[in-house]
């Protein structure tokens, strides 16, 4: 009894049950059990911490940051058409075990790749939420979503997600899983800076080269002229 | 037709039914069914004669039926216990296969 009073949980009395005395009043254990359930019942009316029920459609339990469901595509900025990180490299399409991803590369009129998907479909009736697509993506584009209310009345179209429903902004990702998203953002920023720096260096180098070449050409010209 | 004659006819036909079951059934439990029917027929006779026969202030008829019912229950219990015991040995309740004692 002492134990159960200390912790008003359902398993109160579990400890002293093990240390059963040699002889106890027959029927006493039954009464003890009845007391436990009666306390449960009465306290459930005034102790809010006993009731763990979340009344789902009105209120929702917060989902864990580790909760992973179907994939989504991340885009930077405000416009999903231009900011999409996906380059339609088709790695995820090839790695997907149930092959639920379908990608068509977007090309311009000359047939040159635009490095963005024209079509990006995920059939979530086939997807098994393994997360391999998110792992293999080298462009930080595809991530696992936290959305779980996916039910639809349309068995085929409703479960085939196209770009319009897959594309979600980087802010959404940040809100969904701040830890992972900020890490990714930092890395991307660093890469971006590196790229910029590299480009700057390259430009500088190119410029220097050009200048050097020009200087050399000039020098050669003058030398030639001199010799001629 | 008086009620007495009706009841006696019913009871004798019931008895005949029970007898037929005892004679033709091969399953020991269904033979017991026949015996119950015959006991029941006898009980109907007792009640019929108590009610429609000569005045019976001592209620011998119902009294006899009470004892008969008690004994019928006992008989069914013992009979079925024997059948079950036998079933455990021979895996059968067929009376034609209970012939290991005939010489």
């Amino acid at each position: 009894m002492n134990v159960s009073r200390k912790s008003p949980d359902q398993n109160g009395g579990g400890q002293d049950a093990r240390a059963t005395p040699r002889w106890s009043m027959p029927g006493l254990g039954l009464v003890k059990g009845l007391v436990v359930t009666a306390r449960n019942m009465i306290q459930s009316y005034y102790r809010k911490d006993r009731m763990t029920t979340v009344q789902y459609p009105e209120e929702r339990a917060p989902i864990s940051p580790n909760f992973r469901n179907f994939p989504f595509l991340c885009y930077d900025g405000d416009n999903p058409a231009t900011g999409l990180r996906c380059t339609a490299c088709s790695i995820c399409e090839k790695e997907c075990p149930p092959q639920c991803i379908y990608i068509v590369l977007d090309r311009d009129e000359n047939g040159k790749s635009l490095k963005r998907p024209k079509l990006f479909d995920i059939d979530i009736s086939v997807c098994m939420n393994c997360g391999i697509c998110a792992e293999v993506c080298p462009f930080d584009s595809i991530y696992m979503d936290g959305q779980y209310e996916m039910s639809t009345t349309d068995r085929f179209g409703g479960l085939l997600l196209g770009l319009d429903r897959l594309a979600k902004s980087a802010d959404y990702h940040m809100k969904l899983r701040p830890l992972e998203a900020s890490e990714v953002a930092a890395r991307r920023k660093a890469e971006e800076e590196k790229k910029l720096a590299a480009q700057a260096a390259k430009e500088a180098k190119a410029k220097a080269d050009k200048e050097a070449k020009a200087a050399a050409a000039q020098a050669a010209g003058t030398g030639k002229g001199e010799t001629a | 037709m008086t009620p007495l004659a009706l009841l006696l006819t019913v009871s004798s036909l019931l008895f005949v039914c029970g007898l037929l079951a005892v004679l033709t059934r091969r399953n020991a439990i269904l033979v017991l069914v026949g015996i119950e029917l015959m006991l029941n027929a006898a009980n109907i006779n007792f009640i019929a004669f108590w009610r429609y026969g000569p005045a019976d202030p001592d209620m011998t008829g119902p009294m006899f039926v009470l004892f008969s019912i008690a004994i019928a229950a006992a008989e069914a219990a013992v009979g079925l216990a024997i059948v079950l015991l036998n079933f455990r040995h021979t895996r059968s309740t067929d009376l034609n296969r209970l012939n290991s004692l005939h010489g």
């Binding site: - | 009620p3 009706l6 000569p54 019912i69």
Partner: protein, 172 residues
Amino acid sequence: MILPLLILSPLILLAALGAVWNARPVHAALMLALALALTAGLYLCIGADFIGLVQFMVYVGAVAVLIVFSLLITRPGDEAEELARRPGSLVTGLACVLPVAAVLMYAVSHTTDLPYGTAASPPLPLQKLGESLFTDYAPAVLAVGVLLTAVMVGAALFARDPDKKPTTPPES
């Protein structure tokens, strides 16, 4: 007063015939339960309320259930093909039964000559029944008590597994 009897009697006989003729043992046992229950109704109709209810309780509630239960334990097959294969037993059975039926019907037809056709005794007085049960019939009650105790112990001993070994698998 004869109308309920006229309705119940053929029903009892039909149920009894069902118990005798039905090829499926469980159906036969259920028909027996029906016949016994209808007989209880017959007793209720002719003023033996107590006997009727006791009949219902003991026969339907105990005996019929016991029979059904042992049928479940032994799981007998249907007897239909056996009955069809060996009509000899049926002929013999009928040959034995018909003379009995004839004798009984003869006796019954002479019983109707008795002068009393209507109810002679009042409906069963319960108080008096109980009193005479425990005064005049006390030795009989004691004997039945001893019998029932012996039966209970005996049946329990019979039905008990002598050794706790698993039963032998049935030979197919």
